[in-house]
């Protein structure tokens, strides 16, 4: 319906602006995909900083378990009486750090930002299929963020059962203080967040399917769009399952049902619940939880594909293989959730089956990594900060992904489950890789978002400190895990065998603090460049995709005149015979006679005939049909 309003006709969107925009409709309740993308990004950045500060707080506790930091009491009050953090609060920090990073930063902040920005731009659409739903999606997300933060101002503290909120711990307030009002807020926040994701996902899918410009068939879409499209499908199919998990948990907590609870004697009190199973929750949770990992990492893979190709001045190697591996990952992501539950008491045979599907998923992931490297091979690599973050992303994806071979293997997982090995694995493959994908996207598309350039030198500083910091933080954790150190431990002082790791914890915490402070370089760069950055040219990176054919100044409807028609795939970089090293998607083959290949005509005989005539006239090789 909305798609009919946003017609391809130029008349409605000529220079004069007939939409009266107030501050409120332009900046707050905007329905413009570009503004909503910026809203998602800035909210995501704020959440990321918040969650990062939480992580540094608990890192301080781990590095100096026997030391008082009176300054903590100033900010945290009763949760850090005498300057020493309480164990419950430590668990709250871990929980909210995980929730915010996974959902608010890497799901909404990443795919929310770039799906909104790039889907209409790169497909040649005036806006999203439903701008109103798009706006609703953002405001639901924003409300979810506010609720989650507000749980820090609750007497009993924020949710503290881990980001996976396994019941009964999350269901019984007497088991841990955070399972009181804090947990309720968590559940409400998450429900709103899922609503936001579903509304957004429907919108992305319908835009990709319906609003592509003339000539933009599915196999001419940039890999970014493929990634967002598949991410949206995965999200749409899996997020509602989390709603059911969350709502049932809400019932167990507030109405007295027993979906997840049975046979409980908590703090000496026999609870009346009977017949439920905590394992049911884990199945429901991980049915989302595992696809969620790919919801987080696939947009990052899409963004880096585009950035690596552009900055290597070379087509992405194996475009079709890249798409098929994304499709493969999307499909497989639904049948691997059980690998989070090998040792929960799930039927061991089922565990074996999940192990097989899990390790299969490594194949498409490996193909992607190899294709990235093949793209770099004999390229003409330009090191913009975005490109550096893209290379860093591939590095994390590989080093984190490889350790998945241990964890996906049920027999090895016996000893590694829930240890620091897991923490290291997923922080590299999904945390750092996705954050780097996101930062790569921010550096690359900043000129498109704000019409200004970011400072490259600060970008390099930011990259190197973060890249080094992330490896220094997460790499040593593997070894702690192999030694059997469990995650979510408040301190390592209670076990003799963990004492040797306190020195490593010190290294990790210092690396985390320095990498955390390095983000100030990014924040300064980001926010000051909005006003003070160099004015951006229309196509600063010499890129092929359609968003760079729009004017630098944002206008309603994106293109001032007709929407460009697409004639070619987005990766014609350094095509032999052409005078520049890029040919944008909207350049017809008739203008690039000197570089056309047989492959370009897709069996169009008339086009081949014309090309051959030209080739004859210019003494070039005749194309065979």
């Amino acid at each position: 319906m909305s798609s009919t309003v946003i017609s391809h006709g130029a008349a409605h969107h000529d220079a004069d602006n007939h939409h009266h925009e107030t501050f409120l409709t332009k900046y707050i309740f905007s329905q413009d995909h570009k503004m909503i993308a910026k809203q998602f990004l800035i909210t995501g950045i704020v959440m990321a900083v918040f969650a990062m500060v939480l992580s540094i707080l608990f890192r301080i506790q781990l590095a100096w378990p026997d030391k008082d930091f009176p300054i903590l009491e100033v900010f945290l009050g009763k949760w850090a009486e005498g300057g020493r953090m309480k164990p419950e609060f430590f668990l709250s920090l871990v929980t909210i750090h995980g929730t915010m990073m996974v959902f608010f930063v890497l799901t909404a902040g990443l795919s929310g930002t770039f799906s909104n920005l790039l889907i209409p731009y790169q497909l040649g659409a005036r806006d999203m299929a439903s701008p109103l739903m798009n706006m609703i999606s953002y405001w639901l997300f924003f409300t979810a963020c506010v609720l989650m933060v507000s749980s820090f101002f609750v007497e009993s503290g924020p949710a503290s059962a881990g980001w996976t909120i396994y019941p009964p711990l999350s269901a019984v307030p007497t088991a841990i203080a955070g399972s009181g009002l804090g947990m309720t807020l968590w559940l409400i926040s998450m429900t709103l967040f899922i609503a936001s994701q579903v509304v957004g996902g429907v919108n992305y899918i319908s835009t990709v399917l319906n609003l592509r410009t003339k000539g933009m068939d599915l196999w001419k879409m940039p890999l970014t769009i493929w990634a967002f499209f598949l991410t949206a499908i995965v999200g749409l199919l899996s997020f509602p399952v989390l709603v059911s998990a969350v709502v049932l948990l809400f019932f167990d907590r507030s109405v007295g049902t027993s979906f997840y609870l049975s046979d409980l004697v908590v703090q000496g009190q026999i609870l009346p619940n009977e017949g439920g199973s905590p394992i049911l929750f884990q199945h429901l949770f991980w049915f989302l939880g595992h696809p969620e990992v790919y919801i987080v990492v696939m947009p990052a893979l899409g963004l880096t594909s585009e950035v690596i190709s552009t900055n290597s001045r070379k087509p992405i190697f194996g475009y079709h293989a890249m798409v098929y591996s994304l499709v493969g990952i999307s499909v497989l992501s639904f049948i691997v959730w059980g690998h989070h539950m090998f040792v929960t008491g799930m039927n061991p045979f089922l565990g074996g089956v999940f192990m097989i599907t899990t390790l299969i998923i490594a194949v498409p992931s490996a193909v992607k990594a190899f294709n990235y490297i093949a793209t770099l091979w004999r390229g003409n690599i330009r090191f913009t900060p975005a490109m550096m973050f893209a290379i860093g992303m591939v590095s994390f994806f590989v080093s984190g992904g490889l350790t998945g071979l241990y964890l996906g293997n049920a027999a090895l997982d016996i000893n590694l489950h829930d240890t620091y090995f897991v923490v290291a694995h997923f922080h590299l493959v999904m945390g750092s890789a996705s954050i780097f994908g996101m930062l790569c996207g921010v550096y690359h598309w900043y000129p498109k978002m704000f019409g200004r350039m970011m400072d490259t030198k600060l970008g390099y500083l930011h990259f190197w400190l973060t890249f080094l910091g992330a490896y220094l933080v997460f790499f040593p954790m593997h070894f702690m895990g192999i030694d059997g150190v469990p995650r979510r431990y408040y301190s390592f002082t209670a076990f003799p065998f963990m004492e040797k790791w306190v020195s490593v914890n010190l290294l990790i915490t210092w690396a985390a603090i320095i990498a955390g402070l390095a983000q100030v370089a990014f924040l300064w760069n980001f926010f000051s460049s909005i006003w003070k950055g160099k004015k951006a040219p229309q196509n600063p990176w010499g890129s092929n995709t359609l968003e760079w054919t729009t004017p630098v100044e944002h206008i309603h409807g994106n293109w001032p005149g007709e929407i460009p028609t697409v004639y070619r795939w987005p990766y014609d970089y350094s095509k032999p015979g052409h005078d520049t090293d890029f040919i944008p998607q909207n350049v017809p083959h008739s203008e690039t006679m000197s570089s056309n290949l047989a492959h370009d005509f897709e069996g169009n005989e008339e086009a081949v005939r014309i090309q051959n005539e030209w080739n004859k006239a210019n003494n070039r090789e005749i194309i065979e049909e």
Partner: protein, 441 residues
């Protein structure tokens, strides 16, 4: 929106910043507050040695404990009637914070100055016509190469140092095959990790953009792509099969072996473990959580006479080279029964029993010798987030010889103590009313 200040102001601001930093040096500021002269002397010595953050950081707690101890005590002891709650925080705390904030600002300033110097250098070389637009590109590519070397060194260091800290060979039968698989996987992924990083970080250097270079238009090569789809697939198939059969052999124990093993029940609760041995009959008695009372905190159902001889143990003691079957249950929330040395882990889930059967092969005494640590103990710890005491929920595991085990077992007390027998008898009398309420459900 331009934030520009003229030069005079800049100088003043810089001076203010420097003076502020100096004054708020923790040790220096402390000197103004404290009366203890001896600590002040050392503190001044520290602060005069410029602003080394590590030095001053170590000086703070030392001086703190010496001179501001009374204040700290006042804040920690809740019994002392403090008149105003704000005064419990030592003002020094704020000064320390200011110091670190200022220190960070100084670093930022230095970074900004270096940035300016670089851009001035760039501008002058542009004016002199000597500017090479690719110099930075080259610099970054070299950094990637440097990073590659550092990364490989770091990986080596990790394997050599931390790896040796972390690695202890398994001391159970099934653990040996787990270890073999672990090592095979490690070899494979280390090779892949190193090769990929050499390519990933080497290519940026080799193929960096230069003035006259052009990329090679190479969109796809189906043969290569097929190869690198099939090769990982084959490697993974091998790993999967190996892993699958190992996993089955660990979890799928034949029924007669299940029955012949020693049965031990472990119950997890916030934040401790309880261990129950079956007693002479070799059968663990029934448990009914509804029977939990302050005295019978385990919730053992003494209507089942098999429970009467069940033994209570403070540690998990098991004989070497005997198959042991653990029944893992939970009283309240999910815990996890995890013995790293044994490669044993299974969750304790309320409402269901999980099992793990294994055979230890090395006694604690032998292990102590092997580790050259007379205090070494196997430990079972909770590995599923369970609340504030999660980080200290442990049970010692002692592996002994068969004879020692028998002897130890004979010294253990029964769960069904005289007090409990009395309670049980009293409950029996009231049973009819219990039954009536049960039938209503």
């Amino acid at each position: 929106m331009k934030f520009k200040i003229n030069n005079r102001f800049k100088g003043v601001l810089g001076c203010l910043l420097a003076v502020g930093l100096f004054v708020s040096t923790p040790s220096f500021a402390l000197q103004q507050d404290s009366l203890a002269q001896d600590s002040a002397v050392t503190a001044v010595a520290d602060s005069s040695a410029t602003v080394a953050p590590v030095d001053s950081a170590t000086a703070v707690p030392a001086a703190d404990s010496a001179s501001v101890a009374p204040a700290a005590k006042a804040s920690s002891s809740s019994s002392s009637p403090s008149v105003e709650p704000e005064s419990t925080i030592d003002p020094q705390v704020y000064k320390d914070l200011t110091y670190y904030v200022l220190l960070f600002l100084i670093i930022c300033t230095v970074v900004a100055v270096i940035g300016k110097v670089l851009s001035v250098y760039e501008l002058t070389s542009k004016m002199n016509g000597k500017y090479n637009p690719f110099s930075n590109n080259k610099f970054q590519s070299v950094l990637f190469l440097v990073f590659l070397v550092a990364f490989l060194g770091f990986v080596y260091y990790g394997y050599a140092v931390w790896g040796s800290w972390a690695w202890r060979a398994a001391v159970t039968e099934h653990g040996k095959s787990v270890d073999t698989m672990f090592i095979i996987t490690t070899v494979i992924i280390t090779i892949v990790l190193v090769l990929i990083h050499i390519l990933l970080l080497g290519f940026p250097y080799i193929y960096r953009m230069r003035a006259d270079s052009k990329a090679f238009y190479y969109p796809h090569n189906d043969t290569i792509e097929k190869i690198w789809t099939i090769v990982p697939a084959i490697v993974l198939t091998v790993l999967v099969l190996f892993g699958f059969f190992t996993w089955r052999s660990i979890t799928n124990v034949p029924e007669d072996l299940q029955k012949s093993a020693i049965q031990i029940e472990v119950l997890g609760e916030q934040f401790q473990w309880q261990v129950r041995y079956p007693g002479n009959d070799g059968v663990i008695g029934k448990r009914n959580y509804k029977m939990t009372t302050p005295m019978n905190s385990y919730g053992i159902d003494f209507n089942d006479q098999g429970a009467w001889d069940d033994l209570q143990a403070s540690d998990i003691v098991i004989p070497v080279n005997k198959s042991v079957r653990f029944h893992i249950i939970s009283k309240d929330i999910i815990h996890s029964f995890f013995i790293p040395d044994f490669r044993v882990q299974i969750n304790a889930v309320p409402g269901m029993t999980n099992y793990f059967q294994f055979t230890p092969t090395v006694t604690t005494a032998e292990m102590r010798e092997r580790m050259n640590d007379p205090l070494y103990d196997y430990v079972m710890l909770c590995n599923k987030i369970c609340g504030s005491g999660h980080f200290n929920m442990q049970k010692k595991v002692i592996v002994v010889t068969e004879a020692e085990y028998k002897e130890w077992l004979s010294t253990q007390n029964k769960y069904f103590t005289e007090d409990l027998q009395k309670e049980f008898a009293d409950a029996k009398v009231q049973e009819p009313s219990h039954l009536a309420s049960a039938s209503l459900n």
